[in-house]
């Protein structure tokens, strides 16, 4: 019964949609790493900030998460710019241990702030009930999953297009390659770094809003997601934007199949099995390069 094509298709589709959220989160993390050489351990907390903003807006002013989404992205963008200006900028050019320590500290600070404000209780934003029935394929896709997945994918591809084709996106790539030469071209490197961190934070915030309609979450959820993000990055290739997208989708897919065929506990561990597998067979990641590629 499990091998029926409709079941396989169902698993594949819901896996890809879940994976799109990983991709959105991981691509932001990857962008910061590619441009600043900083591994932002607080990236998961930025996502949870987005989730709680979504929850607050739903609970107290009855705003739909999809309405809140652009506002949260704007807020997180601003927060990201300030973080970069006041904190992360001081870390560029330092060794990785320093940036790991500082962003780890930031992560702990933000998480405990969350615990203080919201307690460790799990929350959720129960909008978008039920599912879409695709009669031609005879499958049902849950509405939250479909919406969150589609928006995640659109945002990730949108940012990719921005980096590829927009003047400022190209400047971000230039700074990630050769900051000094970028300066000579007239690019204000500090500003570009702020923009980069802002974009990554906005992506994390968006992931948080979408997370809030998919799963229940607490201030401690960020850490779990971040761990999976690292698996995604290594699977896809550190610093490679498309690699992170691919890695995220792949992880979602594998989790869905393992969850479908075995059980959900195994699905939680499969990210790390995949990680070990990739490290054994292709240590640079699937689209691995030694440098950042957008």
């Amino acid at each position: 019964m499990l091998w029926e094509s409709s079941v396989l298709l169902q698993l594949a589709l819901s896996g890809l949609l879940a994976g799109a959220l990983y991709a959105l989160l991981a691509c932001g993390l990857n962008l910061v790493f590619g441009v600043m050489g900083v591994i932002n351990l607080a990236h998961g907390e930025l996502m949870i900030a987005g989730a709680f903003l979504s929850w607050l807006a739903y609970r107290y002013i009855d705003l739909h998460p999809l309405v809140v989404l652009p506002l949260v992205m704007g807020l997180l963008y601003g927060f990201g710019v300030l973080l970069q200006r006041w904190l992360i900028e001081r870390l560029t050019g330092r060794d990785e241990l320093t940036s790991l320590l500082v962003t780890y500290g930031l992560s702990i600070l933000l998480m405990n702030l969350g615990l203080l404000l919201f307690s460790a209780d799990f929350r959720s934003v129960p909008v978008l009930q039920g599912g879409f029935y695709l009669s031609s394929l005879d499958l049902v896709i849950s509405k939250p999953r479909a919406v969150a997945g589609a928006i995640s994918l659109a945002l990730t591809l949108g940012i990719f297009g921005f980096l590829r084709y927009h003047r400022m996106g190209k400047a971000i790539r230039a700074v990630s390659e050769q900051p000094e030469v970028a300066m000579i071209c007239g690019i204000d490197v500090a500003k570009v770094r702020q923009m980069t961190f802002g974009i990554a934070a906005a992506m994390a915030g968006a992931a948080g809003v979408l997370l809030s309609i998919l799963y229940s979450f607490s201030p401690e959820t960020g850490g779990e997601f971040l761990l999976k993000c690292f698996a995604v990055l290594v699977i896809g290739g550190m610093g490679n934007f498309l690699g992170a997208l691919l890695g995220g989708l792949l992880l979602g897919l594998v989790e869905a199949f393992v969850g479908g065929f075995f059980n959900v506990q195994w699905a939680e561990a499969v990210a790390y099995l995949l990680l070990v597998l990739v490290l054994l067979l292709r240590p640079g990641g699937l689209l691995g390069q030694r440098h950042a590629v957008f």
Binding site: R167, K170, R173, A182, M183, C185, G186
Partner: protein, 240 residues
């Protein structure tokens, strides 16, 4: 020398971190000329250029461009002041295409149509690059990379073009090509300040030259006179 110099360094002291590298350096570049800055390794030649565009800290002294003081400017303002710079080792954005590299050279041009026009202009001037516009810069040959680095620095139509070791690591064929290109640029009215290890070649195409030693001015003269100068020949041109 009646016209005011385009570039004027007065009593320039500069340091790399705690180490002072330049001591009271004097230098002038007149509009439309090629000036070669030569000297042995560690003389501080590159430092002179880097201190002009703010990549190295100036301790004392003045840098004037067309009469305006630009000492210690922010590096990303260089194109605004009309300074183009070709870094040593022809550093490109290797994972961007030739066209994108040129676009970055015109980053400050906000209007996309105008930017495209500038790109086409430079591609017209370097037909070799035009044929490879969509190729990643990292895949170009050494000579093509140097052409691209020069092309990128020309994008904002600089008043002053500074080149750091343009012939370094190039095969003789490409060295000829690059130096020929520099002469073309001068004939088009560009002003060039060039740091060059290959002193003899540099002085052959230059109008004037400065010899730097241990961060201090040693000789300054017309290029042809420096080529004839006994001491310069013995010390820096490997001649007898």
């Amino acid at each position: 020398m009646s016209a005011p110099p385009l570039l004027h360094l007065q009593q320039l002291d500069a340091s790399y971190g705690p180490i002072q590298v330049l001591f009271s350096v004097q230098l002038e570049v007149q509009p439309g000329e090629i000036v070669a800055l030569i000297g042995p390794n560690g003389a501080g030649k590159s430092t002179v250029i880097k201190s002009i565009i703010g990549l190295v800290r100036v301790l004392r002294g003045q840098i004037r461009l067309a009469g305006r003081e630009i000492t210690g400017m922010a590096t990303h303002h260089a194109p605004l002041h009309g300074i183009g710079y070709v870094p040593q080792g022809r550093i490109l954005f290797a994972r961007m295409t030739v066209r994108e590299n040129l676009e970055m050279g015109a980053f400050l041009q906000q209007d996309p149509r105008e930017r495209r026009r500038l790109v086409e202009e430079v591609l017209d001037q370097f037909p070799q690059l035009a044929a490879r516009a969509q190729v990643l810069a990292g895949h170009l040959s050494g000579g093509e990379q140097q052409m691209l680095a020069i092309g990128r620095s020309l994008m904002m139509r600089p008043k002053l073009l500074m080149l750091d070791e343009p012939s370094l690591g190039l095969s003789p064929k490409y060295v000829d090509q690059i130096f020929a290109q520099l002469l073309v640029l001068r004939d088009q009215g560009h002003t060039l300040l060039m740091v060059e290890q290959n002193a003899a070649r540099a002085l052959e195409i230059a109008d004037r030259g400065y010899v730097l030693e241990l961060g201090r001015n040693r000789f300054a003269d017309r290029a042809s006179a420096l080529l004839e100068n006994e001491a310069v020949r013995r010390l820096y041109l490997g001649g007898v």
